[in-house]
Homo-oligomer: 749 residues x 2
Amino acid sequence: MKQLGFVLIFTLMTGLLNAQELMGFSEANSAKQLDWEKQFDVQLNAKNQDEWMQFLSSHPHHVGSPQDKTNAEYIANLFRSWGYQTEIASYFPLFPTPKTRLLELEGSKPFKAKLEEPTLKEDKTSGQKAEQLPTYNAYSADGDVTAELVFVNRGIPADYDELERMGVDVKGKIVIAKYGGSWRGIKPKVAYEHGAIGCLIYSDPADDGYAQGDVYPQGPFRPAQGAQRGSVMDMPVYPGDPLTPNVGATKDAKRLDRKDAVTIMKIPVLPISYEDALPFLQSLQGQVVPQSWRGALPITYHVGPSKDKVHLKLEFNWDQKQLYDVIARMPGSEVPDEWVIRGNHHDGWVNGAADPLSGLVAELEEARVVGELAKKGFRPRRTIIYCAWDGEEPALLGSTEWAEDHQKELTEKTVAYINSDGNGRGFIGASGSHTLETFFNEIADNVIDPETGASIKQRRYARTIVQAEPSNRSKLLEDKNIKLGALGSGSDYSPFLQHLGIASMNLGFGGEDPGGEYHSIYDSYDLFKRFKDSGFVYGVVLSKTAGRVVMRLANADVLPFDFKTFYKTLSDYVTEVKTLLDNTRTETDVQNKMIKEKLFDIAKDPKKISRSPQLKEDVPYLNFSDLDNSLVNLKAAAEEFKKMYKDGLQLPVAKQNELNDLLYKAERSLLDPNGLPRRPWYKHEIYAPGYYTGYGVKTLPGIREAIEQRNWKEAQQSTQILAKTIDSYSQQVQQAIDVVKKNGEKRSF
Amino acid sequence: MKQLGFVLIFTLMTGLLNAQELMGFSEANSAKQLDWEKQFDVQLNAKNQDEWMQFLSSHPHHVGSPQDKTNAEYIANLFRSWGYQTEIASYFPLFPTPKTRLLELEGSKPFKAKLEEPTLKEDKTSGQKAEQLPTYNAYSADGDVTAELVFVNRGIPADYDELERMGVDVKGKIVIAKYGGSWRGIKPKVAYEHGAIGCLIYSDPADDGYAQGDVYPQGPFRPAQGAQRGSVMDMPVYPGDPLTPNVGATKDAKRLDRKDAVTIMKIPVLPISYEDALPFLQSLQGQVVPQSWRGALPITYHVGPSKDKVHLKLEFNWDQKQLYDVIARMPGSEVPDEWVIRGNHHDGWVNGAADPLSGLVAELEEARVVGELAKKGFRPRRTIIYCAWDGEEPALLGSTEWAEDHQKELTEKTVAYINSDGNGRGFIGASGSHTLETFFNEIADNVIDPETGASIKQRRYARTIVQAEPSNRSKLLEDKNIKLGALGSGSDYSPFLQHLGIASMNLGFGGEDPGGEYHSIYDSYDLFKRFKDSGFVYGVVLSKTAGRVVMRLANADVLPFDFKTFYKTLSDYVTEVKTLLDNTRTETDVQNKMIKEKLFDIAKDPKKISRSPQLKEDVPYLNFSDLDNSLVNLKAAAEEFKKMYKDGLQLPVAKQNELNDLLYKAERSLLDPNGLPRRPWYKHEIYAPGYYTGYGVKTLPGIREAIEQRNWKEAQQSTQILAKTIDSYSQQVQQAIDVVKKNGEKRSF
């Protein structure tokens, strides 16, 4: 009890400290802001979130469905009723839907896959069969293929290396891969690169089914016939409409021919349930899979090829569909041309309660109360724009097309983009531009977890320590701050951050909201209420958290960017890629030595096929001097700016505006106008989704992926590009210093 | 090709070097010894091993079975026919066999476990139902209990800590544990310590079934109804007849009352198949198990308790049975009172083809050819004793009772004990006293793997590197020597090494002989021939390897003990226990800090039971100075002896005998006459089976287990005892130095 008392007092003290000095606010404005936030908190109402989710999830609401449009209009009307200038922005991307889906096993024990998620009496929307999109992977190719089957584990490049060692080739075969271990689109892409002619992706119960917990409807986990829909477009090359890269898919935009759209998958791909997968896996012969490849089905997993052939036939309607992005503005009272954008998508694969509505209703409630406060005199200095995106599920369509359509204005005006995409019970998850880390930690200190009474920051810190390996805990105890994750892809921040260089964040709670409903008909209101966030308690906490981010960014005197945190993180990334290069060199040396000593040949089982690896080219040393020097300069600038940051609060308003303009545009200077190698749409030099991981981020992607691909020349070039990028970023920080300094000199005269 | 050529030349060169200098042999005697070994190799015949295995495995041959006696007589006759002085030594231990076995699930869906391994047409001995011992755990208690069931993972102490955190108590319950993760006897022992009244142990298919590979008869892995018999006697306290600790179980030995025998389990215990286990696991309710506890059955694993009660009834015949140890001697020509003992057990749980006959037939073929060579003039200097033990499976009965019965003579005369226990395709596995490591590496250099042409040492080295984490390979490449494993328990070396202080080794090939036949009716000749070592090729390699160990030990001029390797290993162990203490201290400090900061309370899911750990006593610093000083002295003595080792070859025979006596008795000085805390039968200060791991070794057991049990006083006392033990060992080495030195002085005069 004594201890808990201490924690409470500490929390109160932290609160008091914040009351005096809110980052980016003068003392007077801090007090006002905190007062508004107090009012904000008390008005947030979980019941609204519940009601909106009920309505919005009452029917399937995927792109092109009647409910998709209905929902957009419903949302737009809500925004309007709260006083926002609201419009629905429409775009017209290619969005294929299935016409034929056939999967069968030939041979003596023929089997035809059901490809159907059953209606459950415990789930009232699960029977809306006529309205549901069937289980499929969007942007799969049309195809009618018959071939032997090969099991490729997760279907990532390393798995094919292992198959090669086992003497198994997928050329001319159909592959079956487990979901997980990469974004799903990587699996058919890599399969195609290796010569496969078709791809099945299934949810293994080890990852997503009974091994995780009781299955629906008894528990929230994926039942035997549940399957995961999802896009397989090659989004690591570019997201959005495959026919209109770089420009908005307006009605009359110039479009590529479908055959020239590189992001459409080249082979047919189909997601299946573990019940459907079982007979196919049982037909596999050949070697037993490596231990780490095993799933939780009650069989011996073999790599294949299969005894019998598999027939996969897929045909799609390659239609253009209309998107409905809802855009709601509250113009800024002082600097209306500085925009704080907040977004969450509204389209789902089916009824989409958890994904995306749980996040969307938190955004709506946040927007409602901001509207209420505005009526009572809260006038944000900057413009706030609330967005509800359409078409996120197929390919971040709504956000990407809008961002491409408005890129010039967005580049000029946007201070930051704050995203969410689903929410549930548990711990704050926060990723984003590391310039916002200090700012976000201040907010996480101020928001209280509703079930424990600790701050959301304390709670996440506690879990990080408790879940860590005992040997790592000591080090972790030294830093109570939340370290922001780096953004890869998988939601609507991508076009803002990685294409336009707008500082972005992605926020959401989770970790105590288990489930296997993802992209299935069971992602329903009924499941959500039972297992995810019954009372929308964490919905309200997300409103509190994201609302503070939006309101403080919109009202700050000096925008709360901290270049020192960014420097530290960047410096860690540089250390990482250097270590990666060194480790690659050591491992190459060791492996080459092992090959020369014939160790692989001597160690292998002579009765099994087990090909020894080939000698690899030695790993050269790269010249990191320019990069190291650029970091030295950035460090100096970042530290100097941090020291004088508070002086900015004393600047006259015009100077503050000049300063703020420099601050939020700093992120733009992290773009390389030429973009990343082989995917020029991605221009951010620090954060990108992995070319071979998809959602998973690759920080310093130019250097890191070149090293991973053993392209030393490109790694060196990317190092030089990054050094220049950092130099221009440091110059931007230097300009901000100069603005504060000049005024400081004036003041001291 | 060039590289392989190099390997061959290198092998030849190594051969030549050895030809000149075989450890412990003068140049002339080296050449003779190598010549005998050449003759030995060519006479080894795989077909004999095949024939003997066929006969010996033709019927179940457990303790007390007709075939057990038949086999002993058959083996004795073979030894006699090869010229050995052969006797059958009989002992009369307690050996319970089942009378009643009943296991059922009560409630609305009642289920009665089959407890029966089905006959397979592909396995011709699997149908010998009348002769088979049913599936059971020997030395389980009688019992008739009905209670709720709780799943305890592996059933080791750490699992109960986890259960306590989940708020689950096993008091008055029956527990179900997975095989693996500890020796089986630990599971009911720990369950009993926690208040459980019954224990089921099942083979989960994740560890031992379809997840490992195709099941029998398609592949060699454990089928759905296969179960693992085995002893649950508390052998970490003492092995052998529970009624006659420390003395031979002769007909008229003084016996304990059964109720006073501490090694008999206190609760009923039954092993079951995964098919039998499934309904019991499905009846479990409560929390879902931690991820690492999951098995491969197609269910969600829960910790329990079960919805319905479980009824377990076991009754045993508590009979005395006769053991038949076969002891075959070839008296030494020069020092007949120095004995080299080689053993492998002959009893099986059922037909026991792999376990133990695959090792036994290799020993027999080795003995046969040694006998042949003797007829041709090979007269080993020392006495060779070949043993075929009975009753190893229940509790190392045959070896323990014989060793206890003859302890005085064995202590005086035994140079070393060389054990094997099963053998198959693959890599040499070698554990034992580290004084023999250098000697064994020389042998491993000389024996060629039959499938790759590399030496067995090269092959094992190659696999060690290939299987290592890439980051560990560089270090491992630095040392091509085989590091002997330390001996815990699980086979017949225990009484020799750990009770009598006789330098011991355990040898066997494996790693390319997968299977799940262990202790089941499917451990048959049919399975062995298909999956284990079809042509008995590795049986012959074991004969070659162990034969060399025996013949070189029997013939060496100066016994090939290397105290420097022992010192190095011992020094590593001391570093390990110091590190263990330091890590325990750090982890305690960190965890106490976490408890004081309430991190466990804040991190946990408020809707789940999850008890936070309690504050632990701080870990003191211990005084290691005496131990460190004893190591300094040992190092000096070991290095000095190593330098002058070859001088020993120049000593007159009488002096050599004096030296050899000191050398082989050095291991005796590693015994503490008082034995280990709470288990005085185990007297070796360096190697012991773990009190809570069973088979798994605990090196420096006194110190290590005291630290693990947080008994700091005992840890300090054990440190002092070890220091004294090492001092007396160093004195023994010093005496050996003195013997060589004195003579050296004479020679130089």
